[in-house]
């Protein structure tokens, strides 16, 4: 259980601001503003990770999501200069809203209907060294597969964005 009063207050404040900024991502009418609100959401989620005593994952979240992925998103918006910037919806807006609401209702019902086996342990202390040990003994194969996946993704991204004229120039 989480019992520290400061952490409890932090959870509800960060949680509320995260949900509000996630709603703003859907509501604002400018794509760049949506990306900026998404950065606030990612940072808030990192705060939630800290409340859940996952310090290493929170650091990775700030570096990878709030840092790298949001920069990628801004770059993608900038690289499509005559694209649509209005952050508009397709004709699937109403069905999507209904589906998301139904999913939320079902999940909340299941959350309250299930008897979770809550452990009595306190918060984790530093997690980085135990995570490192977990990565190199029981999870070493998925860890290596993840590095192969990242190399494949990097090569794929480079090939996909390569300019075709430039490619022809290199061949000539």
């Amino acid at each position: 259980m989480i019992t520290d009063t400061g952490i409890v207050i932090a959870f509800y404040v960060i949680g509320a601001s995260t949900v509000v900024s996630a709603l703003m991502v859907a509501a604002v009418r400018n794509l760049i503003h949506a990306v900026l609100f998404l950065v606030i959401t990612f940072t808030g989620v990192a705060g939630i990770y800290i409340v859940l005593s996952a310090d290493f994952v929170a650091m990775a979240q700030v570096l990878i999501y709030a840092g790298a992925i949001s920069v990628l998103l801004v770059f993608a918006v900038m690289l499509t200069p005559t694209g649509d910037r209005r952050n508009a919806e397709t004709s699937f807006q109403a069905p999507a809203l209904v589906l998301a609401g139904l999913l939320l209702a079902v999940v909340v019902f299941v959350i309250y209907d299930t008897d979770w086996r809550i452990a009595s342990r306190g918060q984790f202390t530093t997690t980085a060294s135990s995570l490192g040990r977990a990565f190199f003994s029981p999870y070493v194969v998925p860890f290596e597969v993840a590095s192969v996946l990242l190399v494949a993704a990097m090569v794929g991204a480079i090939i996909l964005t390569q300019d075709e004229d430039e490619e022809a120039g290199h061949a000539a």
């Binding site: 996952a54 979240q61 993608a76 998301a100 999913l103």
Partner: protein, 111 residues
Amino acid sequence: MLPEVLLATVPLEHVLILGAILFAIGLYLALSKRNAIGVLMGIELMLNAVNVTLLAFSRYVVSPRPLDGQVFAIFVITVAAGEAAVALALAVAIYRHRETVNIDEIDVLRW
């Protein structure tokens, strides 16, 4: 020692509901946005919601190895980074050919 009323707690259910709300918002974004980059933002939000849920279980629930939830969360972050790179490259490549990234205008496969 604080009196009993002030000893507030965060129950597991509230963390899971936060994750569910974020997932629902992400699903709505992914299904409804016109711009491919907006769809991607929804997918990233859904992956984040899953991570919140994983870390909540890792923190609260009885387990012989409670840190495994955090290991899973790091794998999810890794895959999300690769996915974001490839998907944004796809969006830029489609823009080069069709001058748009609106998913309802990219309909060459429509019969």
